[in-house]
């Protein structure tokens, strides 16, 4: 019983890591622009596909096992991050920024984000077809066993990566100069350009960081759950976003913990009830939390001026 519970906790930590990594991407953009970037889940999906294509390309030249597997991963990750960041910045530049500069209502930017998500999803569907793809196995699986609890090296990698990313973001946002600019923009959008802060550069930086996170999450997701389909980003993205809000969006700690919380809830429901009821129970719990605490666990209520 205890070992099953521990095993489930390990699984939940891995599953929650993915939610956390995606939730952090939502949280960054939301924190700066007050924009729900609904395309983020689909950027994650595109990243997984870019990783898939690139790994497939590399495996033609070298065997995907042993030392070579790690080399493949070491090349794939940065390439995917760069390509995905380019996509993220392209979307920002072409779709969001013109709207912002025209002073469109905030919700119109959100709708545009939804549309960008649809374009990415269905564009992918049109290119790759509806059948799901299998991500090739690149690193050799090593299983550690601690008193009946099995942990693969991949799981350790995923969980550690999520924590490292969290610490990195926490330092960047709270300690660095550009992080200060990011917080400043979310605080006062109109006063900030007057202080000589290049708003657009900061926004581009935010999108680069957010998309790179999605890229890391996408490649790791492909390695952990090796079935890719064009709609995976949408569902995980929506869920991660809800998790981020329950944790308290606009606060990095909140998004991080919210992701893990959703992971735990889902895995525990699956292991103790049935997987059919997963979404029903998970969303009901989240709904109740939001009703009781409308700004999430770590969110700060925005004061409204009259």
């Amino acid at each position: 019983m205890l070992t099953t519970l521990l095993q489930n906790i390990i699984n939940a930590l891995q599953w929650g890591s993915f939610y956390s990594m995606i939730a952090l991407g939502y949280c960054l953009v939301y924190g700066v622009l007050r924009l729900i970037n609904f395309a983020h889940g689909d950027i994650f999906m595109v990243a997984a596909y870019i990783g898939f294509v690139f790994v497939g390309f590399l495996l033609k030249f070298m065997p995907g096992s042993g030392m070579y597997g790690w080399i493949v991963l070491a090349i794939t990750l940065p390439v995917t991050m760069v390509l995905t960041s380019m996509l993220g910045v392209f979307i920002e530049r072409v779709a969001y920024r013109p709207l912002r500069e025209k002073g469109a209502h905030r919700l119109y930017v959100v709708i545009t984000a939804l549309m960008v998500g649809l374009v990415l999803e269905n564009g992918n569907l049109a290119i790759f077809g509806a059948s799901s793809r299998k991500f090739p196995e690149i690193i050799d699986k090593v299983v550690f066993t601690f008193g009946g609890v099995r942990i693969t090296n991949l799981k350790v990698m995923v969980i550690v990566t999520a924590i490292v990313i969290f610490i990195f973001l926490q330092t960047v946002v709270n300690r660095s100069k550009i992080g200060m600019a990011m917080r400043a923009i979310s605080y006062d959008k109109f006063g900030i350009p007057l202080m000589g802060i290049p708003v657009n550069k900061v926004v581009v930086f935010t999108f680069i960081v957010g998309s790179s996170l999605a890229a890391i999450a996408g490649v790791l997701f492909g390695m952990s759950y090796p079935v890719l389909d064009p709609y995976m980003g949408m569902i995980i993205g929506w869920k991660a976003f809800i998790a981020a809000v329950v944790g308290g969006i606009g606060d990095i700690k909140g998004a991080f913990l919210g992701g893990f919380m959703l992971g735990f809830i889902e895995i525990l429901i699956v292991s103790f009830f049935s997987s059919n009821l997963k979404d029903l129970i998970a969303f009901t719990i989240l709904l109740i939390i939001l009703v009781i605490k409308p700004t999430g666990f770590f969110g700060v209520a925005k004061s409204t001026k009259i």
């Binding site: 779709a95 025209k102 469109a104 564009g123 409204t304």
Partner: protein
């Protein structure tokens, strides 16, 4: 003279509607065109009902299709249980001939059920605003869909059918394009109702909430009551559109009321402009026709349509109509109708 001139569009519309029914009655227009017209009607109800919350009240409801699902399932269940022959007893609960009269009531009951489901969003909205409320609506949509997926007596994820039998039963008694008639009637009724609601002194409270909730409260608008009414009214009308949708297609499954359907509703509302009723109607018509025209493109349709919308947004960042009505752009139109 003015008295008659003001009714020009009403009378013209009435004649057009009658003509359409006669043409459909004698099979002069094919079923495909009929079904497109019916989808336009359903989408008009869906879009205008969403525009109460998203357009006039300024909240961001992303899970509107969930309420459509409630209406669709409740009214389909009712009509199938009441009017189809039970396998064991060999007879139906109510005589099928009554379905002709009871059909609109069943659709409205579905709407009322959806309105009650709207409480799921309405009650949290007292304390929650903006993006947090948007999340609650998404969660409600997911909850409704997964709940339906897990209900075996409505077929779970396989879906539920049998509504066509009821419609055929109605047509067997007296040949008439019932669905076409009811969809258009309900669409006109909905637009009329919303128009009355928004322009009434009571309904102006909703617009006050959009502009400034705190100020509205100081000006003696009971904001909680207003929100309750707006959410229940809006989701109730969405339920009506769902009931009609289910009976037009004759088959419902939870997947057809997913977030994607909600997104379609959002597109119609924001393409129109926030707070423009005639805009919502026009964009519902345009959007449905666009969907049908691009059908031959298959999967590329869903690449092209969002792209078109992104481009439209770049040129009209406030939507096609902004917050103005058709009669604001063409003041001379006012001569020809009085929509009150």
């Amino acid at each position: 003279m003015g008295k008659y001139q003001q009714k020009t569009i009403m009378i013209g519309g009435g004649i057009l509607f009658g003509l359409l029914l006669i043409l459909a009655q004698f099979k002069m227009i094919d079923l495909y065109v009929q079904s497109v017209i019916m989808f336009i009607g359903v989408n008009i109800i869906f879009a205008t009902s969403l525009s109460i919350v998203n357009g006039y009240m300024g909240e961001f409801s992303v899970g509107h299709a969930g309420f459509m699902a409630v209406g669709a399932y409740v009214s389909s269940l009712l009509s199938v249980i009441l009017f189809t022959v039970d396998k064991e007893t060999g007879m139906s609960i109510l005589p099928p001939s009554m379905s002709i009269y009871l059909f609109p009531i069943i659709i409205i009951v579905g709407g009322i059920a959806a309105g009650i489901a709207g409480l799921l969003v309405a009650i949290p909205s007292f304390k929650t605003r903006d993006d947090y409320l948007a999340i609650i609506t998404i969660a409600v949509n997911f909850i409704i869909i997964t709940a339906l997926n897990n209900m075996d007596f409505v077929g779970g994820s396989r879906g539920y059918m049998g509504m066509k039998k009821v419609i055929y039963g109605m047509e067997g008694i007296f040949k008439f394009p019932y669905m076409l008639f009811w969809v258009i009637t309900f669409a006109i009724f909905t637009v009329f109702l919303i128009r009355r609601f928004i322009t009434s002194t009571f309904g102006k409270g909703i617009i006050a909430i959009k502009q400034d909730e705190v100020a509205a409260e100081i000006m003696s608008v009971d904001t909680n009551h207003m929100k309750l009414v707006a959410f229940m009214f809006s989701s109730g009308l969405a339920g009506i559109s769902g009931g009609l949708f289910a009976h037009v297609i004759g088959y419902v499954n939870p997947g057809s009321f997913s977030i994607l359907k909600s997104t379609e509703g959002l597109v119609m509302v924001y393409l129109a402009g926030m707070g423009s009723l005639s805009g919502s109607v026009i964009s519902a018509i345009l959007f449905t026709i666009l969907l049908e025209l691009l059908r031959p493109l298959q999967i590329f349709k869903w690449v092209l349509i969002p792209l078109i919308l992104i481009i439209v947004m770049q040129f009209r960042p406030e939507g096609l109509m902004g917050d103005k009505e058709l009669s604001d752009y063409f003041p001379k139109l006012k001569k020809f109708y009085k929509f009150k």
